[in-house]
C-alpha cells in the first residue's frame, strides 16, 4: 500500500498532464493531437489517465473526488477527440478491386449459368484453395453451409495494426471510466460514413420502391445483376471486415461493445442494401421477370449463410429476418410468375393467323421460355412444390383443357408444370388454327406448331426428361394426325378442280364438256398442284430456317410484338389484318 503522499503526488502530476491537454483551456491543446505526436507523449498521457482513474477507484482521495472526476471528464473528452481523429485519418474505403474479388464472387458458380463447371462444393475446389485438413469437417448439412461461408468470407485489414492498438488503448480507458456510449457513438459515425462511401463505389443506389416500380424491366435487370455482385462483396468482405475491426478494437472490453459498434456501423447500410432486393421481390409479376428473379433468389440463398455468420448477434436479428423474408418472397414471386405465365399462355388472345400456317410467335416464345426453365431446373426443383392448377375433365368449361395426372405419376411438380404448359400451348394453338378460313391451313398450322414443339423438346435432354415419353408420343401423334388431315384437305381441293359438276354445259353449242371451263379447270389444277407441292416442300424445310412468311414482314412482326406485349403485361396494340387465311 502506497503512502498517501505518494498517491497524492502521483495524482497531481497526472492531473497536470491532463489539464495541459484540455482543449477548452489552451490554443496549443486545440491545435495539436496527442496521437500525432511521439510515443513518449502518448504513453505518458495514457498513464496519467490510468493514474487518475485509479485514484477515483481508491478511497484515499475522497476529498478530491470532484477534482478527480473533473479531470477524468476532461481526459475523456480529449480521448474522444483523439479517437475520432485517428479514425478519420484511417477512413479510407476499401479499394474497389478488393471488393469485387473474383474468388469471393464466383465461389458458388451455380448462379453463373454460362459456366460449365459444377456448382457443387467439391473436394477438388477445397484442395485448390489450399486447405489441407478436411478431417475435422463435420459432414452434416448445417456445418457444411457455415464452412462454405467461412471460406467465402474475406476479412480485410481496414486499418493498420499499430492504429488498432492505439484505438484499443483509448477504448479501454473510455470504457472503464464509464464513457462507453460516447466511444460507440464516435466509432459508429465515422465507420458508417466509410461504409456508405464504399457503397457508392459499388454502385449501390438509394432507390425507393416507387423509383424501382417506375423503371423499365431491362434497366432493372442490369441493376439486379450489379446488386448481386455488390451484395456479395458487402456481406462477405465489407461487413465481415468491419466486424473484425470492431472485434480487434473492442473484444474483451466488456458490455458487448464490439457488437454495439458493429451494429452502429452497418445496420443502416445493411437495411439500405436489402431494401433493393425487397423492392424487387414485391414488384408486379410478369413472365419476363422469372429468370432474373431466380438469379436474385439464388444469390440471396447463397448469401444467407454468410448473413447468418456476419449478423449473428441478437441485435442483428431484424437484418437476418429481413433477408429471410425477402428470400421467401422471391420464391413466392417465382411461383406466382410461373402461374402468371401459364395463364398467359392459355389466354394469349391474338387472332390474326400467321401467314402460310407456319410457326406462331407464341409457340416460339413459349418453347424458348420453357427451355430456359429447364436450365434453371435445380432452383425451380426446390421452389415448385405443388401441381399446376388445371381444368377438370368433368367441367364444361371449354376454355381450359384438362390434364390427366394419372399418366404422369411420379413426375416432379416442376415437370408437371412444364407438361401442363405444353398442353395449354397446344390447346391455344388449336384454338388459333380455327381462324384460318382455308381448311388445309388449319391443319398445316397445327402440324407446324406441334412439330416445332416436338423438335424443341427433343433438342433438350433436360426438357425431354421432364416432359417424358408419354407426352412426347402424344405430341408426335398429333403431328401425324394433323399431317394426314392436311394432306387430305389440300388434295381434296386439288382434286376438286377435276370434279365433274359444272363441266357439262347444257345449252345450244354442245352437249359435252365445255372446253373453256375445262381449260380453266386444268389451269386451276396445275396452279393448285404446284402451290400445294411447293408448300409441302417448304414444310419439310421449315426447320432449316427458310421462313416463307418473311416477305410479309410487317404482319408477323406485329404478331410477335403482340405476343411479347402480352407476356410482359403491356397493353396489346391492335393488329391490322393484312392477310387472312
Amino acid at each position: 500500500m502506497e503512502p498517501p503522499e505518494y498517491e497524492a503526488a502521483a495524482f497531481k502530476s497526472a492531473e497536470k498532464i491532463i489539464l495541459r491537454w484540455d482543449s477548452t483551456a489552451s490554443e496549443d491543446a486545440r491545435e495539436r493531437m496527442i496521437f500525432d505526436g511521439d510515443r513518449y507523449e502518448i504513453n505518458s498521457y495514457l498513464q496519467a489517465v490510468d493514474d487518475v482513474q485509479r485514484s477515483i477507484e481508491s478511497t484515499t482521495l475522497s476529498d478530491d473526488q470532484n477534482k478527480a472526476s473533473s479531470a477524468i471528464q476532461i481526459a475523456m473528452a480529449r480521448l474522444e477527440d483523439e479517437f475520432r481523429n485517428i479514425l478519420l485519418a484511417n477512413a479510407n474505403p476499401i479499394e474497389i478491386d478488393a471488393l469485387l474479388d473474383i474468388n469471393v464472387l464466383n465461389l458458388n458458380q451455380s448462379s453463373l449459368r454460362t459456366d460449365s463447371s459444377s456448382g457443387d462444393f467439391s473436394e477438388e475446389n477445397l484442395n485448390e484453395s489450399g486447405l489441407q485438413d478436411l478431417g475435422a469437417i463435420d459432414q452434416s448439412r448445417r456445418s457444411s453451409a457455415s464452412y462454405r461461408s467461412m471460406l467465402s468470407i474475406r476479412e480485410l485489414d481496414l486499418v493498420p495494426m499499430e492504429i488498432v492498438t492505439d484505438l484499443r488503448s483509448i477504448a479501454e480507458r473510455m470504457i472503464s471510466a464509464g464513457y462507453v456510449r460516447e466511444c460507440v457513438q464516435v466509432y459508429g459515425s465515422v465507420r458508417k460514413s466509410v461504409v456508405e462511401s464504399s457503397f457508392r463505389r459499388l454502385g449501390i443506389e438509394k432507390l425507393s420502391i416507387g423509383d424501382i416500380q417506375r423503371l423499365e424491366w431491362e434497366v432493372l435487370e442490369v441493376k439486379i445483376r450489379r446488386w448481386i455482385k455488390a451484395a456479395k462483396a458487402c456481406v462477405r468482405i465489407l461487413f465481415a471486415s468491419e466486424k473484425r475491426l470492431t472485434e480487434l478494437i473492442f473484444e474483451g472490453l466488456g458490455s458487448a461493445t464490439d457488437d454495439a459498434c458493429f451494429m452502429e456501423t452497418v445496420k443502416g447500410p445493411a437495411i439500405q442494401l436489402f431494401n433493393f432486393a425487397e423492392a424487387i421481390s414485391i414488384s408486379r409479376r410478369s413472365p419476363e421477370k422469372l429468370f432474373k428473379i431466380l438469379d436474385l433468389h439464388d444469390a440471396l440463398f447463397e448469401l444467407l449463410a454468410d448473413v447468418e455468420v456476419v449478423f449473428s448477434s441478437r441485435s442483428a436479428e431484424s437484418i437476418r429476418v429481413q433477408a429471410e423474408e425477402i428470400l421467401s418472397r422471391l420464391a413466392e414471386a417465382a411461383r406466382g410468375i410461373l402461374s402468371e405465365f401459364e395463364n398467359a399462355v392459355l389466354r394469349e388472345p391474338s387472332k390474326v393467323p400467321v401467314p402460310g400456317g407456319t410457326v406462331h410467335p407464341l409457340t416460339r416464345y413459349v418453347m424458348n421460355y420453357i427451355s430456359l426453365i429447364s436450365d434453371y431446373k435445380e432452383t425451380l426443383f426446390e421452389l415448385i412444390v405443388s401441381k399446376p392448377v388445371t381444368g377438370s375433365r368433368y367441367s364444361e368449361d371449354l376454355t381450359t383443357p384438362d390434364m390427366d395426372f394419372g399418366e404422369v405419376e411420379g413426375q416432379i411438380p416442376l415437370a408437371l408444370h412444364l407438361i401442363w404448359i405444353i398442353v395449354i400451348l397446344q390447346f391455344n394453338v388449336e384454338g388459333k388454327s380455327k381462324h384460318y378460313r382455308d381448311t388445309s391451313l388449319v391443319h398445316l398450322f397445327v402440324m407446324n406448331n406441334v412439330h416445332y414443339i416436338v423438335q424443341k423438346i427433343k433438342g433438350s435432354p433436360e426438357l425431354r426428361e421432364m416432359i417424358g415419353d408419354f407426352y412426347l408420343k402424344k405430341l408426335t401423334g398429333k403431328v401425324r394426325q394433323a399431317a394426314t388431315s392436311y394432306q387430305r384437305a389440300t388434295w381434296v381441293r386439288v382434286l376438286h378442280c377435276l370434279r365433274e359438276e359444272g363441266l357439262h354445259v347444257t345449252g345450244s353449242f354442245s352437249a359435252g364438256v365445255s372446253r373453256s371451263v375445262l381449260r380453266e379447270r386444268f389451269k386451276a389444277f396445275n396452279a393448285m398442284f404446284e402451290e400445294v407441292h411447293r408448300t409441302q416442300a417448304t414444310w419439310t424445310h421449315i426447320e432449316s430456317g427458310r421462313h416463307p412468311e418473311n416477305y410479309i414482314k410487317y404482319s408477323v412482326e406485329d404478331l410477335e410484338n403482340a405476343v411479347l406485349d402480352f407476356f410482359e403485361g403491356n397493353p396489346v396494340s391492335q393488329l391490322s389484318r393484312r392477310r387472312s387465311g
Binding site: S23, N66, I72, E80, Y179, S189
Partner: protein, 383 residues
C-alpha cells in the same frame, strides 16, 4: 347487431377485435333469413362502422397519451384491423374485381398502397433517428447519475451530450440527420470548426435519395381521392364505398405517421376532404384537426416529429440545459433538488422511448408486410 367491444383503450400489443366481418358472416350462415344482397349491405355498413369506431377510439385517449409512442402503436393496430376487415370483405366479392369500374378502383387502391410502403420505410428510418437521440439521453442520464456526487466534470459531460442532441434534432429539420456525429469539444460555447466535414456526415443517414419527399409521397397517395359516384356504387354492389373507405384509412394513417415521426421533407399541408355522410368521416377529420392543432402549438423552429416523447425530450433537454448553465459549484441544496427532479423526468422519457421503439418498429414492418400481402393477393385475384 350487438354492441361492439373494441379493445382500443390501453393495450399496446396487437389485438384483434372479436367482433369482425368473419364472425358476422358466420352468424349469418346460421340465421335463416339472410338474403345475399342484404348481407352485402350489412357487411358494408358494418365495415364502415368498424372503421368509424376504431378512429373514434384513437381520439378518445387521455390528453397526455395523444401522439405518444403508445398512441402510434394503436394507430398502427387500427390500420392492421381495418385492412384485415377490408380484405375479408373483398375476398367475399371477388367476382366484382374483374369488372368495370371495380377493376379500376381496386387497382388504384393497390397503387396507393404501394406508395404507402415507401412511407413505412421512411418511418422506420425515423424510428432509428429517435433511437440515436435516445442514446444521447442515456449519456446525459449516465453523467447525472444521482447515485453519485455530481461534480463539474459530470455536468460538462451532460452538457456536451445535450448540445449534440440539440444539433441532431436540428439536423433532422433540415431534411437529413446524423446525430451520432459528435462535435468536437471546444468548450461550452461550442465553436464548431469543421462545419464542412459535419455537413458531409449529415447527408448520409437516410436510406432514400435526397430527392425523396414524405410530403410529396403523401400527396401522391391522396391524389384524386374522390368519393364514388352513384353509378359506380350501383355497378359494384356497394364495394366502391368500401374501397373509398380503405383508401382514406390508408391515407390518413400514413399522414399521421409522418406527422408524428421524423422523416425526410415532412409536410402537413395535405388535406382531407371526405363527405360527412360517411360515418367514419368525422372521427378521422377530428383526429386530423387535433394533430394540426398540435403542430400549430409547436415551436416553429423545432419542427421534428410531433410525437409526444419528442416534445418531452426537447422540454427536458431545455430545462436541463438552462439548469446546467445556471449552476455554480459546489451545488446548493435547491439546485441539487432541481437537478434530481429534471433527471428523473428525463429518465421517464428515456424509459418510455426505450421500451416503445422496438415494438413500434416491428409493427411498422407488420404494416409493410400486410400491405404487400394484400397487394399480391389483390393483383392475383384481379389479374
Amino acid at each position: 347487431m350487438p354492441a361492439t367491444d373494441y379493445q382500443g383503450s390501453s393495450a399496446a400489443h396487437t389485438t384483434r377485435s372479436f367482433f369482425s366481418l368473419r364472425s358476422l358472416r358466420r352468424d349469418q350462415v346460421h340465421s335463416m333469413d339472410s338474403f345475399h344482397s342484404t348481407s352485402q349491405d350489412q357487411e358494408l355498413e358494418f365495415f364502415q362502422k368498424f372503421v368509424a369506431e376504431k378512429f373514434s377510439d384513437l381520439s378518445a385517449n387521455k390528453a397526455d397519451e395523444f401522439l405518444s409512442l403508445s398512441w402510434v402503436q394503436k394507430l398502427l393496430n387500427v390500420f392492421l384491423d381495418c385492412q384485415e376487415e377490408f380484405t375479408t370483405l373483398v375476398s367475399g366479392n371477388k367476382r366484382y374485381l374483374n369488372r368495370a369500374p371495380m377493376d379500376r378502383l381496386f387497382s388504384e387502391f393497390l397503387e396507393r398502397s404501394v406508395k404507402a410502403l415507401d412511407v413505412c420505410n421512411a418511418i422506420r428510418d425515423g424510428i432509428e433517428i429517435i433511437r440515436q437521440w435516445q442514446k444521447q439521453l442515456e449519456i446525459v442520464l449516465c453523467a447525472l447519475d444521482i447515485q453519485r456526487t455530481l461534480g463539474e466534470g459530470q455536468f460538462r459531460r451532460a452538457k456536451k451530450a445535450l448540445i449534440d442532441l440539440a444539433i441532431g434534432m436540428l439536423d433532422e429539420k433540415e431534411g437529413s440527420s446524423s446525430v451520432s456525429h459528435r462535435n468536437r469539444s471546444f468548450g461550452r460555447n461550442n465553436v464548431l470548426k469543421d462545419q464542412k466535414s459535419m455537413g458531409h456526415y449529415r447527408s448520409l443517414s437516410w436510406s432514400v435519395s435526397r430527392s425523396w419527399s414524405a410530403a410529396k409521397q403523401l400527396q401522391a397517395i391522396g391524389n384524386n381521392l374522390a368519393p364514388p359516384k352513384p353509378n359506380e356504387i350501383m355497378a359494384t354492389n356497394g364495394l366502391a364505398v368500401a374501397v373509398y373507405t380503405m383508401n382514406n384509412v390508408l391515407y390518413f394513417v400514413m399522414w399521421a405517421l409522418v406527422a408524428a415521426i421524423p422523416c425526410q421533407d415532412r409536410g402537413l399541408h395535405t388535406s382531407f376532404h371526405m363527405p360527412k355522410q360517411f360515418v367514419w368521416a368525422n372521427p378521422i377529420l377530428s383526429l386530423h384537426e387535433k394533430i394540426l392543432d398540435e403542430s400549430k402549438k409547436r415551436d416553429k423552429r423545432a419542427a421534428s416529429g410531433l410525437m409526444k416523447e419528442i416534445q418531452d425530450i426537447e422540454k427536458c433537454a431545455r430545462f436541463l440545459n438552462e439548469l446546467i448553465d445556471s449552476v455554480g459549484f459546489p451545488l446548493n441544496e435547491e439546485k441539487q433538488e432541481e437537478v434530481v427532479k429534471r433527471v428523473k423526468e428525463l429518465g421517464l422519457v428515456n424509459e418510455a422511448i426505450k421500451q416503445g421503439l422496438n415494438p413500434t418498429e416491428r409493427q411498422v414492418r407488420e404494416v409493410f408486410h400486410k400491405i404487400v400481402k394484400s397487394r399480391t393477393e389483390g393483383l392475383a385475384s384481379s389479374g
